[in-house]
Amino acid sequence: MDELLSEFLTETSESLATLDVEIVKLEQDPNAPDLIDNIFRLVHTIKGTCGFLGLPRLEAVAHSAENVLGKVRDHELVVTPPAVSLILGSLDRIKDLLAALEETEAEPEGDDSDLISQLDAMALGQEVQGEDQAPVEAPTPAPVPERALKEGEATEDELERAFRETETEPTEIVAKPEPAPSAAPAPVAAKAKEEPRVEKSSEGSVASQSIRVSVDVLEDLMTMVSELVLTRNQLMQMVRGHADSEFKVPLQRLSHVTTELQEGVMKTRMQPIGNAWAKLPRIVRDLSHELDKKIDLQMLGADTELDRQVLELIKDPLTHMVRNSADHGLETPSERAEAGKQETGKVVLNAYHEGGHIIIQIKDDGRGINVEKLRAKMLASGMATEAEVAEMSDQQIQMQIFAAGFSTAEVVTAVSGRGVGMDVVRTNIEKIGGTVELSSEWGKGSTFTIKIPLTLAIVSALIVESCEDRFAIPQLSVVELVRASKESEHRIEMIKETPVLRLRNRLLPLVYLGDSLKLANASDHKLTEGAEVFVVVSQVGSYTFGIVVDRVFDTEEIVVKPVTPLLRDISMFSGNTILGDGSVIMILDPNGIAASTSDTKVGERSDADDDMTHAVSTDDTTTMLVFRAGSTEPKAVPLSLVARLEEVDVETVEYANGQSLVQYRGKLMPLVKMDDSCNIRESGRQPILVFSDGDHSMGLVVDEIIDIVESKLDIELTATEVGYLGSAVIEGSATNVIDVGHYLSDAFSDWFTSPDEAAFGEADARRLLLVDDSPFFRNMLTPLLEVAGYRVTVASNGDEALALREDGVDFDCIVSDIEMPGMSGFELAEQVKSDGRWQETPIVALSSHVNPKDLERGRSVGFSDYVGKFDRDALLTTLSQTLAEKVEVA
């Protein structure tokens, strides 16, 4: 292909990609002069270059589009959705032409007069209602457009050129644009030829900052650097054997340079993920029209960089997922209104780095996934039996959308819903060593989380040995290493013939690497009693399991080489590599190992894992201490509230003033009983839960501590009984969550006044920011306020709170402690009230000392109200009053 032409094609398609984005932006913000200038300039350049290369069809379309844009820039035309659609339509036409051009190196035959006449009509200020209506309005048939477009062009465009070109008699053109038609062709041709030169000279300085390099060159460089890294590793290994080698110093240098070179070459391959997103605004915009939905696409972290190769591979899955979110995820405006949501649905794309991975989240606030419907569908389609379905967790069910041939959409649209797609998405992502997870709440939306490695070519891997063979496991999939032996704390236990490992109160399924790879002497190995083995805890999707190996060596940077085609069907390996010592080893693929050794499909998880992952990934879970006191049913308290678990000798319990006390850490600590049925033991040792804050400590008498579990603290109802916040399902059984505040007030009359029913109702889902330096009070008040129906966000100091403001988080009310280290509550209030988005947000002071002076100062800095720290009902009352006032004011 002609070099000039190929340059033009690359450049123009880049411009078009930018244009797609910019024009959609323009539609949202029609009065941004920068935007329209930029758009105009881009279209103008395309037109100019087309003329230069002698591409009349392209030029004509670009020209007419430019006319319309020129009018928009001069505020003669208003940006309307039909106008934008029309412009986008002409860009599409340009793309089609370019595609044909690329294929045949010549402009295809055809006629664009339909489009051009619509554009011209719009440029002349005529209403264009719809694309199909326009040809009727078009005053002139096919051959005339050249002429028609000249009329519209006259204004801005000509003026601009008039300044640049002296030889084309600008005055004449500017002066009488209207009668120009007959004279037009000649100057246009001249101008068109002039254009590129002008553009080039002005952009030359910018262009010289970067050069275009063919991808092949970069790929070759990468391969060579990979080889260099290998050779370097080999040399290092050799020299390591000789303590005082003369090669040591130069080798150090070589190593250093190689590392830098590697990083440099990697950098050339890095591209912002925004490149993969560039098409999305346009796609979403078109979708929203097609589906009649209002969609707000937000893209965060577009400058997060990742390897070109990875980028290419995730481009399509991402597009697919965004389409899906827009189509299936979001409801129609009327449905949203019914559900009490804003009419405009949100799709948020967020990309960021996290420990050698890129995390990409696709989040929508749509309808979420209906687990019940999925269950029914699975049954109906025979994917699972009733018993299987009943056993699956919601999470497992949700993951089924990644199964092949599965579609949740009731209606198959042109966009999606045909049941191909999500499985392909998952396959593509897993192919590059990534994982995709889904969490969805019915009615609230879904979040897909994609985790992918930064680069594929060189990875850090853990070298392990099993049965005298060495293997590499990519670090990415290694969560932790555990040494296990008969004597140590971690011991491999057998359930029938299944090995498991107890790890932090969880059972971890184990896979003997020797067994799964059918290594010759694997079975003898396992029988060696007392032998020390290592467990490589790996995570595939949300399934965590342990790979048992004999030894663990170093981690090493390895260059992944694909395995020979002869071995491609062995799913256990993702590649092979040459180590520093020159030996060839296989790279294990944890996905393959997980798949081959258990029935558990990737993505499914046991309940235990469920909790574990939640604990790590969401803030919603709370560690609960489950215990028994008095009655037989379990009770629970957030573990964070408990200072210590103690056992006291009942002999040491003393009684004073009707209150049982025990000497604890040099002080008298009151012992509180849950209720009358719960008694201090007659003899022996009595387990107690110690709660303390500052000087106060209190011991809660319990019969037995059962367990510590991670659970979502979803308190379902306010207990009518005093002393309980409500009940929550913890580990599958209904458990009463106790209200520590109640018992504290029992123990110390100055701690809390009498407990009362929590205020329910109108406070529904009000957002509250709680600022308090004492973790005890934060933990204490959070469940209390949540039960009262507030959505609580906590900050441990003023700076944290202000950081939330910077992040754009809004609250209905702020509750702040006064005495805090660093920024005091007064200062915080001043800051909040001084400026910014929280100016209108009421702020309630919380203090343990309420005196008139404080009250006065509080009011002066902008506190709406003042509540004693221990006065629980006062706080709730104040909050509902303050919020009611706020509503009235608004």
Partner: protein, 167 residues
């Protein structure tokens, strides 16, 4: 051998499969269990002495392991196994390295012989009674002085997956 004339623009692999129109052929000879085999010289990259092979778990039995040849990973194929002969000590085997579609394979043999140029007139088709496993990979036989040279087709030798599936 009807299309003898158009081999010039064919790939190397096809050359293995086709008779060249020149009147003699060059082969690297190899000895396995007393039998002489020939591999087209153009497909041979290297000849190696005994090598340490890295085990590849779960690989087909014909795959003996892998080795590092100047920074490239080479897959070793045990020709004795492939041809259904009695196993020998792989660690003592020599090997002939061939390039196939950009991948390197080392064919384990007992001993490497000289490079022979054999006249086409000595060529014979495979006897119909030849062991099917041999017939499958052999391209024909050359009559030499006092012995026979069995020509191996690299492409066929590497069709291990197919064989495994059929077995």
């Amino acid at each position: 051998m009807s299309d003898v004339n158009n081999t010039n623009d064919r790939s190397l692999d096809d050359l293995d499969d086709q008779q060249n129109k020149t009147d003699s052929e060059e082969y690297v000879t190899a000895l396995i269990d007393g039998q002489l085999f020939g591999i087209p010289v153009l497909s041979v990259q290297d000849v190696l002495g005994p090598q340490t092979l890295a085990n590849i778990p779960l690989a087909p039995p014909e795959v003996a392991g892998s080795l590092n040849l100047r920074g490239r990973i080479v897959t070793a194929i045990d020709l004795r196994k492939r041809l259904g002969m009695d196993p020998a000590d792989r660690e003592k085997s020599m090997s002939i390295v061939v390039d196939h579609h950009g991948e390197l394979y080392s064919l384990l043999i007992d001993e490497v012989g000289e490079v022979l140029q054999v006249p086409m007139q000595n060529y014979e088709r495979n006897p119909a009674t030849l062991d099917p496993r041999w017939r499958d990979v052999s391209q024909g036989i050359f009559r030499l002085d006092g012995r026979l040279l069995v020509i191996l087709q690299v492409q066929r030798l590497l069709d291990i997956i197919k064989v495994a599936a059929a077995a």
